[in-house]
Amino acid sequence: MRTTLRGSRVLRAALLAGAGLCIAGSAQAAEPLVKACAKDGQFVIGFSQANNAEPYRQHVNDELTAAAKDVPGFTLQIADGAGNVNTQTSQVDNFITQKVDILLISPFEAAPLTPAVKRAMDAGIPVIELDRKTVGDPGKDYTAFIGGDNYKIALEAGKYTAKTLLPDGGETAVLEGLPSSTPAVERLNGFKDGVKENAKIRVVAEQAADWVPDKAQTAFAAMLQAHPDIKVLYASNDMMAAGALLAAKGAGKDVKIIGTDGLPGPAGGIEAVAKGDWAATFTYPTGAKEAIEMSKKILLDCATSVEPTVTVETTAITAENAKQLMGK
């Protein structure tokens, strides 16, 4: 192993000096976030994705790819962390080695990816965090956060259950994601807090089904055996809601199912609600369009600062609006 550091700093300085396309404003003007920014420049955006194996994340990749295609100077590179903090860390390091112009990241877990994000920031690469945060504050420890709020989305689902689906009370159940993962914990807590609005509602069963439909089917079938009076099931993602539907059909029960994510396409939640299979699903917006917009501001418009937190709101997809949203 060589242990000498080459003059990469000198190199970077030369690079920046060479990029004399920046604003020729007064010396007092705030520096743009990326000095090499230019209206007609060519830029590489590195996206460090947590885990391509999850359909929701594939959906994020698709939306990002589509949004980046519309910008002539942008090249998007997606690295798949494969649900492993070690793999994802090394991929972020690779992006830093490549000196991408912007790093987008959906960290698989918060604390483990924090040092890697810091390294990117230290290397002068703006970091936009998508859907999940690392430790620290947006605008300081990383450039910005764009995403939904897991807890709030599940809270909405809980309130919807309390007010609309079960106004007279009854038994409900929850299918949790992968235990001890951040979104699983937040969605579980959110739903349970949401149904507290109605004192007559009881959460009689919670089971983890690791985000996957087959485990959800098994778990919900067992729940229905033990609690035949379950009226509403909250599934922490669309995949598990799909599995739960099979279990409900198998048991001959009419259970109102709520999904989360609101994925498009033939196997997605929007269609399931439109067909009347589920009562509702609450979208978890990807923030992909917003992320590419923000990248344009930084790289093309030479923004000196950006909004540190952009919360994309959830939409409740119910029987009323599902059909209109199908084509979108």
């Binding site: 192993m1 990469s8 690295a79 494969a82 903090v85 390091d93 690779n94 080695t97």
Partner: protein, 352 residues
Amino acid sequence: MSDQKISVAASPSVPTAPAARRVDPLALVVRFQSLIGLVLVAIGGIIFSPRRHGEILFLNPDNIANIVRAVSETGIIAIGMTFVIITAGIDLSVGAVLGLSSVVTATMMISGGFGLIPTILAVLAMGIAFGIVQGTISTRFRLEPFIVTLAGLQAARGLALIVSGNQYINISYGDGPGLAPPVFAVLGERLFDNTVPVATIVFIVFAAIATVVLNTTRFGRYVFAVGGNERAARISGVPVSMVKIAVYAITGFASALAGIVHAGQFNFGSANDGMGYELTAIAAVVIGGTSLFGGAGSMVGTVAGTIMLGALANILQLNNITPATQLLATAAIIVLAAVLQSLVRRREGLGR
């Protein structure tokens, strides 16, 4: 790499062992297959590396550091796994024990308020104990290690969930209750002017010790003897059961060590960590020239195999090539390594 000497199995004095024979060129290739592979991947890396202002990114010191850091945890596990596989065993519990160890490390330091050294010693002891239990069950009841360690995998994940209360545990540093000593975070840093990752140093030191143990001690010879021909080893006075229990204790220790490194690198413990590491480790061992039939293997080969897989992943990502390609390339390399070994075994008349 430090030493390039690879020792072959010190043939135990057993009747079926072939006598000294002419050196078969193919056998030489197999003996050095992972080193050759590493060199080939490195050459490929240099050829296909993106360049910036004439600099080959693949050879950038930061990039080399990324590669060796990323493989540290699976590397540590693969070193332990090499001992087990040489005895013709297998340990599927290693990734789960890594997860369990990361959770216990984080819990002890955060809510337990145990100091750094007691935590590390306790976690390492736990790993060793886990291995001893698996080894004992396997030898005592004559069960396939595959089955026993499969159960061990489930048990370790279950224990990890219990210990962590189904939550992930963040490690925050500082001085006071509920905070870990800041020195622990050094596992995520780089030494020597910010060049050499500490995780890699742990990996290489462990590899060096393991190489010495395997190649120069009586215990090392016993490991080869048990894998080469168990009955013959028993007859010639090798304490077979003890050796077997010991190798599972070693993988337990290695998994616990990797779990500690994991917690320190990522300031975090989660029951889900280390999933699938057992297979990555087995792949590195097999590519390194260790036979799943037991009796032959090389520690340096394992280290080279580990780094080779990391370098392969790195060069593909630098070129923005999909993970699918990486999986297919790894598959091809594993098959090639196994085929080469099988050819040599057949030439030596050892059959399949």
